[in-house]
Each structure stands twice: as structure tokens, then as C-alpha cells.
Symmetry: C2
């Protein structure tokens, strides 16, 4: 078996196509996402969760009151409002969060963690840590190389 990305690199060069290093990094990111998401979701599946839903629960667990406006959640998780609606629909259906009206702003809906949701997110977190978040086998230097390189990318995208 050969490495599909190394193969793409060779082809790219052979045809005189541009930005080979960038193409390789971009393709690597796509593949890495696929690998990590697959591993993470596999571990979360027994809990009835996936990565999106886990992230939403974790965000609520970190908040002072266990409840946040949906809009704020979308901002923090960097996803579209419609995706938040969808995620919370599912978590609510499973009894892990509950929608509540905002006390002072009638436009706003709060998602509030239930006791069951708080219990489950703790268990799920432990399971994720046990597989090192899908990054098992990578040395600290590799993790930091990924993190540092991507930090520049995120900076250029205006993330901070």
C-alpha cells in the first residue's frame, strides 16, 4: 500500500501544478479530520453522542449555570445557527438538555443541561481521554506542531 497524499504530491509536481506544499497540507488536514472524527465518534456512539453533541454538552457543563443562549453556543462552537438548532433538538429529544426561555429577552432560547446530561458528558469525557481524543500515538512534539501550524491558519481566518 502507498500513501495517497505522497502520491498526490508526485502527480501534482509531475504536471507542473502549483502550491504543492499547501496542497499537501490542505489534503492532510482533510484526512486528519476524517480520521479523528471517525475515532471520536466511534467512542461516543455507545453514549448516543457524536462529536457535535458532545461539544455542545461540554460547553454547557463549563458554564456557570449549566445553561447558555443558543446563539452564544453557535459562536463558541463556530457553527451555523441552524446547526445549533439541530444539535439541541437532538439533545433535548434524548433528555440531555432542555430549552428554556431567556428570563429577560424574549427572542433568546437557553439550552440547559439536565442532570442526565451532566452525568453523561462526564462519562463521555473519560472515554475520550482514554483514547487520547483520537490522537493516540502522537508525541507531544507532533501535537504541538499541528497546534502551532493551525494556530496561524486560524489567526489568518480571524478566529482571534
Amino acid at each position: 500500500m502507498f500513501d495517497p497524499i505522497a502520491e498526490a504530491r508526485r502527480n501534482w509536481e509531475r504536471h507542473g501544478w502549483g502550491s504543492v506544499d499547501a496542497m499537501s497540507a490542505a489534503t492532510s488536514i482533510t484526512r486528519a479530520h476524517q480520521i479523528v472524527l471517525g475515532r471520536v465518534n466511534a467512542v461516543l456512539a455507545p453514549f448516543g453522542l457524536n462529536f457535535s453533541r458532545f461539544e455542545a454538552l461540554a460547553l454547557l457543563a463549563f458554564s456557570r449555570t449549566g445553561a447558555l443562549p443558543l446563539g452564544k453556543m453557535g459562536e463558541r462552537l463556530q457553527v451555523h445557527p441552524a446547526s445549533v438548532t439541530n444539535t439541541i433538538d437532538r439533545l433535548e429529544r434524548d433528555g440531555l438538555v432542555q430549552r428554556m426561555p431567556h428570563p429577560t429577552d424574549g427572542r433568546t432560547t437557553l439550552a440547559s443541561l439536565t442532570a442526565e446530561g451532566r452525568r453523561l458528558v462526564g462519562q463521555a469525557q473519560e472515554a475520550l481521554a482514554s483514547i487520547d481524543f483520537g490522537m493516540a500515538g502522537l508525541e507531544r512534539a507532533h501535537l504541538e506542531g499541528i497546534d502551532a501550524g493551525i494556530r496561524e491558519l486560524r489567526r489568518s481566518a480571524g478566529d482571534f
Copy 2:
């Protein structure tokens, strides 16, 4: 504005949750994928393409005859057979590839690049190179840091 990933890191530590570095790297990868895919697809949209369809066309353009079995394409692109069917359906509908029977194996379908497809993929490649594949602004060292870290991840996933 603050960095959502740095924020997640702080929360994670504050709650004594495990594998902080791995969590951070995994979350970074997710976000990087989102950024790169968004930029790449924005550039490809005027051509009626997206990243998946572009990758399929490029793969065909690199092949000796401009045609490949769908199964082989899924292997190289590392996607599910059903996704290949979907991608080729769309490319065929747009007249960029054509399905052809395999000359000797009746089970196999070939996707064959049309003249229009070959023309378009060349233009699209130039457009992608002009934005450095969504990685504009990253120094070579960062690209290589990403690439090297992810190579370990891919190795551990059995990519090569």
C-alpha cells in the same frame, strides 16, 4: 474577541478533564478543516465544483488514459463507494466525466474525463494555486509542521 480553542483548553484544565493537548490538537484539526474547506469551495464555486468533485477530476487528469474504475477512485480518495457514485453522478450530469463499461470486467464502471472536464480542472487548479489552497499566509515551517504531525496520525490509522 478571544480564541475559542484557548478557551476550551482553559475550561478543560479547570475541570480536571484529561488529554488536554490531544483535545486541543483534535479541535484545531476540526476547525482547520472547516476553514480550508470553506476557502477552497468558495474558489471552486464559480466553476460549478467543490473540493470532492475537484479531487475526482484531478485524479482522472493524472491517470494515463483519463479514465479510472470508480472503486479505484474511492480507494485513492479514501472515501466510501457510495460517495464516489454520488460525486461521479454529479460530474457526469455536468458533462465533465462520462461513465463507460470496463473493457474486460463487467462489474466495473470507468469514469472517463471529457474534454470539457480536462479543460475545467486545469482552470480550477490555477484558481486554487492562486489562493495557495486556502493556506495563504502560512510559512513553509508551519505547513511542514502540520504535514509532519499529521503524517504520524495517518500512519497510525494505517494510511501507509
